[in-house]
Symmetry: C2
Subunit: 284 residues, 2 copies
């Protein structure tokens, strides 16, 4: 069932609650791929009823980012959700979510994750991005009031920041984190892969190759973070514009001199002008 | 019943929910007076069960403000609550609410109301104050999950900012605003009145006198905001340190050239070094 109005999705969830059913929410920006479907399958396993939200959130895009260009495929998304037995696709308009008028921190209440968690990795180049993410996620949580929220590890910093928000603000919802889904080639699934040419998709394999190589080196006993990060340069060509490669604590995003079982390696790199990210846990 | 732990108050509310009972929350910083009791009475009327939170919230005090000195009278507060038939007094420690460690926007997720609502009135001198207020109020809402939250009009900017937060973040709670309670003299009740000497309490009457006079002038047909604000100077002596006098829209805090039925007059003034605030609706 496709629902566009906040009131309607609330009423639907209220009905389920009366019947004592548990509810899972999978927040997405649409352009659904196998990665999203893995979240939905997980939600279906864990919950009696599943809501998938499809909303390209204007306030998490910077002025020079791809908000207008971001793929919007609601009809296909709804079909995919139907195929997975999703109970409600919640696809509000920006106006339904934010009302009319200019969207800024002069006019709207924002949820702002701690600087320490956002002044690095993707947050460094995407200033205000995680404020926008946390704000919309908390709104969706308050609208749907699910028992569980499902997020992909692909956006590692995002999950960490949302878990921190849930803890700091005592949000009564459990966050379930699901593993990255990859093409057979190793390329992590992303809605932004649609921007790549066939050659671009080949060039983009370098992200997962770099991460796998770091893990191989770590497993061979190299733990010095600087040394592990140095390994990337043998992979990069003039097709690749590296934004960051970091090895951090996977819960707190703290820097550590030596990689360990709680480390995560994260990379952001542009290929054909498309900004791609990927990550890997070293300790499992 | 006095409860200190988040988990315990959550379990208690869950029990009530199972019985289909409605729940009201009255968030306070303790040092309860008749003003708070009026909120509690209102909550008792409207809800099956009432929780009063007593928590002096460190993150809403500036470094030079009275956090350490702020009156803490939990035993007396609990007795007053018992007398009103309050079901639970929730009095967590700062550690229970925020965990250990330093409290700052480097380490904690904050809820930040729009600049337009906080770069004026009390927010101008108390930078970050309303971020701290919104953050703790949302935490209390998420912990208790009441149907209604009760706030006094005394802290007018606070109620406006909280209503805006509830709207912007789709918080599923109704905010009930209760009128200011005054001593017979006209002095608005405040926990900070305890800091005043007997002479100070007399000098402090100037706040309500100024506001009443503005309302009288407005009712006589003077609507020019500058002219109305000018009237304050005939009341002030060297006992008074005026911080602001403003006449604004009572919902949006917008400045208007002419006062009207939606205007609120607000004042902040120091007496004996104690910062006092008061306000009055012109249109009722």
């Amino acid at each position: 069932m496709l629902i566009n109005k906040i009131e309607d999705v609330r009423n639907q969830v209220k009905e389920w609650r009366k019947e004592g059913l548990s509810v899972g929410l999978v927040p997405t920006m649409g352009a659904l791929h196998e990665g999203h479907l893995s979240l939905i399958k997980k939600a279906k396993e864990a919950c009696d009823r599943v809501v998938v939200s499809v909303f390209v959130n204007p306030i998490q895009f910077g002025p020079s980012e791809d908000f207008d260009k971001y793929p919007r495929t609601l009809e296909a998304d709804t079909k995919l959700c139907d195929g997975e037995g999703v109970d409600v696709v919640f696809a509000p308009t920006p106006n339904e979510m934010y009302g009319g008028g200019r969207l800024s921190n002069d006019t709207l209440t924002y949820v702002c994750p701690p600087f320490f968690y956002v002044n690095k990795l993707c947050g460094k180049s995407r200033v205000g991005h995680f404020d926008g993410v946390c704000t919309v996620v908390l709104k969706l949580f308050n609208i749907v009031q699910p028992d569980f929220g499902f997020f992909g590890q692909k956006d590692a910093q995002q999950v960490i920041v949302i878990k921190k928000m849930v803890k700091d603000l005592n949000v009564p919802i459990e966050i379930v984190q699901c593993p990255i889904v990859r093409e057979e080639s190793g390329l992590a699934l992303s809605s932004r892969n649609k921007y790549l040419t066939e050659q671009g998709k080949i060039d983009a394999l370098v992200l997962s190759k770099i991460l796998n190589n770091i893990k191989v080196c770590y497993n061979k006993g190299i733990t010095d973070v600087s040394a592990l990060k140095e390994t990337v340069y043998s992979f990069l060509t003039d097709k690749h514009e590296l934004e960051y490669i970091e090895i951090l604590n996977r819960e707190t995003l703290e820097e550590e001199k030596n990689a360990n079982k709680n480390s995560i390696a994260l990379i952001a790199c542009r290929v054909e002008g498309v900004r791609l990210i990927d990550n890997i846990y070293l300790g499992e």
